[in-house]
Amino acid sequence: MKIHEYQAKQLIKQYGIKIPAGKVAYTPLEAKKVAVEVSKRGPWMLKAQIQSGARNKGRFLEKSAGRGTGIRYVTSRREIAKEAEEMLRHTLVTSQTGPKGRIVTRLYVEEFCKVNKIFYTGLVIDRISAVMTLLIANLEKTDILTIAAKTPNKILHVPLDTHKGITAKQVREVGAFIGISERHLPNLRKYLRGIFKAFVETDATMLEINPAGITARGDIIALDIKLTVDDQALFRQPEIVPLFDECEFEKRELIAFKNGFQYNSFDGSVGCIVNGEGIALGLMDLIKSKGGSTACFLNLKGGVDQDKVASGIRLIMTNPRVEGILIVIIGGFLRCNLVAEGILSVASEVGLNVPVVVRFEGTNKYEGESILKNARYPITITQDVEEGVSELLQAMEDNN
């Protein structure tokens, strides 16, 4: 689960990390009002709160949003309301949001913070070696994505022990890498230990401070932050759960998420219902190789609740972009008959006008097949997925 920048900043502040003074605003008037509270004379930063990186390179879809990006530098109070007016309720598209972008519902108004030097800090989990790793890079000349792509050797990797945290030696190593003077090392130690503790205690899977700035006095300030919390650990993060922002999701994605399923949408025309991400990936590959394209897939995982399974199937059957449905279930936990019953119950409720091809295998295969065989819908049962895909694509073409 991702949370907004302003929420993450409040969170790391509790761990002793310095952040610029800032407040959230939902209207232009409010933006103007809180601006004085965070800084008397400015300048200020106005930052669109959507859960995406590269906001400073993003563009708004609407003309009325002006030419500015999702992050704006403002020097006068009068401009604040005008800029806020342009950003709020408009659609920001970044390299990470996809072409549809996200509607900006709130702004973070921050004091502008003058710094002498900026650097990147990332805390991630190295999946191969299964250890937490601290990533550090100097951002004097370029941004972190360019460094990662072109000169990855300029990123310092520091493996961390989950119990020991960041050692004094590692603090010195990072200090030397960034070029922090000896007398400011205590600030660096406090900063690094703070983010480590925040990472562990919030069950984060990724924490990025991009960038952190060093002021003339040697203070280290988190200028921007992104935090992703492990979905599987939310049961022990009661303070983070309420920060979940439904605006960041498509309606279908949200319903799937709430039922414990996975839903992904693309721009094709075949809707897939599967149990297992691997099958979804394999099917997408197969559909593509036969000249088709995937509209969306729903992964029912090991679902065992009949109503939930039906609500998942409804997401695909009511998606207007779907011109044909492919269902591939290899039952382990999930029983094929449950899926068959779900298909019929949704079909009787919303109708079924597109061709459906079904491949069942595993737990309760025959029960599932016989339920569908006796129904009066355009459902084909196949024993070979490849043939099934060809058959479905043909039927979709005939329909057009």
Partner: protein, 292 residues
């Protein structure tokens, strides 16, 4: 012979009394799997599915000489359940449970390092040695004994790979699901090693997927094996648009831009036969077997 489990392996089940556990353990027993004990705290002394229940793994091991554990415990208890198994020096633990927190997995990996125990999973369909032992939630009707070893990073594609071996008229020596999560107890290397040491495995089917670098690491390992058994592989996810669901620089910084095609290239260079289509695996298997 098979790898990790056979019909002589004595198995205990952690969390045996749950509904899903009972359903699948019963099926496994009917299959011939030697389930000798269950472990459920505070239910020690009771019986379930005809086997004795113990409060701790240690007690179960002392009384029944179990060497392998099958785990159906809730996600938040997996860490302590693994620690119990490691302390009791179990050989293998198979964790079916999904949704184990990442931080717990970090701890688990640290506990496993330097221990005698290997963990398969979490979030895996388990291990099955057809005709001998079924540890997990595998559908039963698709497997048959044979000489193909199957190892997969994707639960459901494991089943698809098994069906491919069946289509080729062949059976499986052992089928291992590594688990769908980004961090799992055992990766390809340990399983490839075991299949190479197993006299009853002639060919290996390996299923990888987008994300991580498990396939690349396995390919590097495969290069170093002196007497290689043929590996027929498939890597799922080439139709997924690159960068989908990858909003964070850290993702890129730490894992690099590894597409499915990159993985396939590395694997082919190492001598692994990678199919473009998973439905062609059976044809390749037939080709290899006819040469033997």
């Amino acid at each position: 012979m098979a790898i990790f489990v056979d019909n002589k392996t004595r198995i205990l089940v952690q969390g045996i009394t749950g509904t899903q556990a009972s359903f699948h353990v019963k099926k496994s027993m009917d299959y011939g799997t030697k389930i000798v004990a269950g472990v459920t705290p505070r239910k020690g002394g009771e019986q379930h599915l005809g086997v004795p229940i113990f409060n701790t793994v240690k007690e179960a091991v002392e009384s029944t000489k179990a060497t392998v554990s099958l785990m159906f415990v809730p996600a938040r208890q997996v860490l302590s359940a693994v620690m119990e198994g490691v302390e009791a020096e179990l050989e293998t633990m198979v964790c079916i449970t999904e949704h184990v927190p990442v931080r717990d997995m970090l701890e688990i990996k640290a506990v496993l390092r330097g221990s005698k125990t290997k963990l398969i999973g979490p979030n895996t369909p388990g291990i099955i040695t057809p005709g001998q032992a079924r540890l997990g939630v595998f559908p039963i009707n698709i497997h048959k004994p044979g000489r193909i070893g199957v190892v997969s990073r994707s639960s459901t594609l494991t089943y698809a790979a098994v069906i491919e071996t069946t289509l080729a008229g062949l059976g499986q020596s052992t089928v291992v699901g590594l688990g769908d999560d980004m961090m799992v107890g055992t990766d390809f290397i340990d399983v490839l090693k075991a299949f190479h040491e197993d006299k009853n495995t002639d060919v290996i089917v390996m299923v990888g997927k987008i994300g991580g670098q498990f396939e690349e690491v396995a390919a590097e390992y495969y290069k170093t094996i002196p007497n290689k058994k043929p590996i027929v592989a498939f890597v799922a996810g080439s139709a997924v648009p690159f960068g989908h669901d990858m909003g964070y620089a850290g993702e890129l910084v730490s894992y690099g831009q590894h597409t499915v095609q990159d993985k396939i290239d590395v694997m082919r260079k190492a001598g692994i036969i990678v199919m473009d289509n998973s439905n062609d695996i059976h044809k390749e298997l037939q080709k290899i077997i006819s040469k033997c």
